[in-house]
Symmetry: C2
Subunit: 363 residues, 2 copies
Amino acid sequence: MQGSRFLILADGEFGPLTSKTANSVIRYRPERIAAVLDRQHAGKTVQDVLGFGGATPVLGSMTEALKLRPDAVLIGIAPVGGKLPEEWRAWLLEAVDAGCSIWSGLHTFIGDDTAIAARAKARGTEIYDFRRPPANLPVASGKAKHVEPFVILTVGTDCNVGKMTSQLQITQKLNERGLRTRFVATGQTGIMIEGWGIAVDAVVADFIAGAAEWLVLEGSKDADIVLVEGQGSLNHPGYSGVTCGLLHGSCPDALILCHQATRDYIGDYRKAGWLKIPPLSDYVKLYEGVAGFVHPTKTIGISLNTYDMTEAEARAACEAATRETGLPCTDPVRFDPSPLIDAVARARAEYVATRAQRVFEPA
Amino acid sequence: MQGSRFLILADGEFGPLTSKTANSVIRYRPERIAAVLDRQHAGKTVQDVLGFGGATPVLGSMTEALKLRPDAVLIGIAPVGGKLPEEWRAWLLEAVDAGCSIWSGLHTFIGDDTAIAARAKARGTEIYDFRRPPANLPVASGKAKHVEPFVILTVGTDCNVGKMTSQLQITQKLNERGLRTRFVATGQTGIMIEGWGIAVDAVVADFIAGAAEWLVLEGSKDADIVLVEGQGSLNHPGYSGVTCGLLHGSCPDALILCHQATRDYIGDYRKAGWLKIPPLSDYVKLYEGVAGFVHPTKTIGISLNTYDMTEAEARAACEAATRETGLPCTDPVRFDPSPLIDAVARARAEYVATRAQRVFEPA
C-alpha cells in the first residue's frame, strides 16, 4: 500500500480548518495526491483552498476523478453524524469497480459494508479501515523500556493542538541531519501518512498500553530515534485514559509538550465554562510525574501552534513559554524548528552516553 | 435477571485463590447459589473448599446439577488459554436446553458461539456476556461532577488488591446505618453480583471515561452515596489507561486507597525485577493530583487486604498505614470496618453541608 496515488474524498468540507486528515496527508505526502473530490470547490486547485498543496485539482465528480487513475480513495473528512452517506457509498462502489483501494479512518468500518466489501473482493482491491484494531494485542509488559533507540513522545494540553504535526516536522529535520528516525503513528491520519500504525483510541481499553508497546518495538528496528505521535491530554475529561495508556506503554525517554497558544479551555467543554487549561509548567510536572512511575522521562521542549496569531504575537508566545518553563520553544511549522531539533539531539547524545550504564543498573 | 439461582461453573479451579469471580459471588450472594460444578471437589460443600459459603454442594456433573433446578449457569473461572473448552460447550448446551440463562465475564463471548446462541434462542433463554460493551457509549462530558449523591471511588496500588470487595463491605455497613447506597460495578464480577454495570476494561479506549460517567449518572438515582468499583492502578504499566479514564469519568468526591499489605511488586512484572510498589503516601498524592485536574477529590481512608498475615501482623500493618498517611485504615473483611464507615459518613456530611454553595460557584 506504500506507493498509492490518492483521490481524497472531502466533499462539502474541504478547507483549512474543516478537513484535518485530508490536509495533513496533503502536507506530508503531496507527491501522492492525484486530486481532491469536493463539489463545493470544484475547478479550484488545492493551493487555492488551503494556501498550500500546489496545482493538484479539486474535482466535482467521481467519474471525472477516476480519469486521473488514482489507485486509492482516501476518506479525508468524517461525514456529519458519523454514518456513511448514500452518495459516498455510490462513489466508493464506483471507485472500487475501477480498481481503487479504500483508505478510511472512520469509526464506522467501510469493510463492514457488505456491498462495498463484496465488490472489493470481486475486483481484488483492499479496504483499509485504520481504526480497526489488530487482533491479539498484548497487555503491556514493559519491553519498551529496553529498546535501543531514543524514544520521544509528544504530549499535549488538549486534543488537536499539533502532536502529530510536531513529530512529523521534527522527523523531517532530524533526517536532514543524518539521523535514522521512525515516526510511530497512533491515530488514523498518522497511519495514512506513514502507511502503518495503530489507532490507539480504538483498541479495547485493556490493551492501550500494549498497543503502544508493540508500536515502539516495531518502530525501533533500524532507528536511532523513535518519534511517537501523542494522543489527547492527561487532563482531558474524555480521553485521558488513552493518553495515560500511551504514556506508560511507550516508555518515552523524552517528552515534547504541545500547545495551541491562543487556546484557554479544553476542547468541547468550554460551553460548560469548563475546563480552563492550566499553566504549561503544571503540565510538565503532571506528565513527568505520572510517566515516572513506570519509566523516568523529562520534557525537553515546547511545541507551540500559533497558526491564528500575528508573527509578533507568535514570537512573544514562544518567548513567554520558555520563560515559564525554562525549555526551548518554537512553532515548528511556522518558524525554524532548530530549537526543538537541537534539544532532541542534545538529549539523545546524553541518552547514548549513559545508556550502557543504565541498562546494567538494577531496576 | 435479578432473581436468578446460580449453578457456578468452576471445573478444575474451584479454590480460595483460584476462582475469584465464583468466590465473590458466593460471598455476596450466598442465598442465590444452587451448586458449584467442579469434578475435582465433587461431593464436598462450598464451605469445605473455601472456608465460607455453607452447605451448598459441589457437584461433578451437569446432569446432576440441573436436577437442583438452577435458572442460570454462571461461569466462575476463566478457562486456561482463554478459549471455551469443548467440554464446557457441551455443558452450556445442556444447561440452555434445560432453560438456564448463561452469565459470563469471559473475553470470548458466549453469545458469539453460533450453536449455543441458536439453542438459547430456540429455548427462549438469555446469554449475558458482561464484558461485551454496550453500543453507543458517549465521550465523557463532565456530567458526573454535578450528581447529587456523594461519589466514592476505590483506587489501588495494583490489580486484585480488594477494590471491589472494599466497596461491597462498605456498602453493606452504610446500608445498616440507614443510608441509601448504590454500588456501581465496573468489572465482570461486580456486574454478576449487582446485576448491572459495564466492564470498563472492555470498552473502546475513547469511551472509558464516558462509560464511567454513564454508570455514575445511572447509579445516582435514589442514592445518598454512590460507591464506584475501581480498576487497576494509575501506575500499572498495562492497565493505567483504564484507571485514569475511570478516575476522570466518574468524578469522585472521595477516594479510598486499597492495598494488599504483603505485596511489594506490581502484578505480573515481578519476574522482571520490576515494578516496586511505592509508598502509600505517594499514591495519595498521585491519585489526588491527577483526579484534581478534572474534579477535586481527597483520599479519606485506606483499605488493607491482610488475608495472608497473622492477626497481630495485620493490626500492625493497619497502624503503620495510618502513621504514614494520617488516614483511617482497616481490613474491612477481616476487622471492624467502622474506621472506613465513619470516614465516609464524616466526608459525606461535609459534602452535603457545602454542596449548595459549591453548585453555585463559577467553574
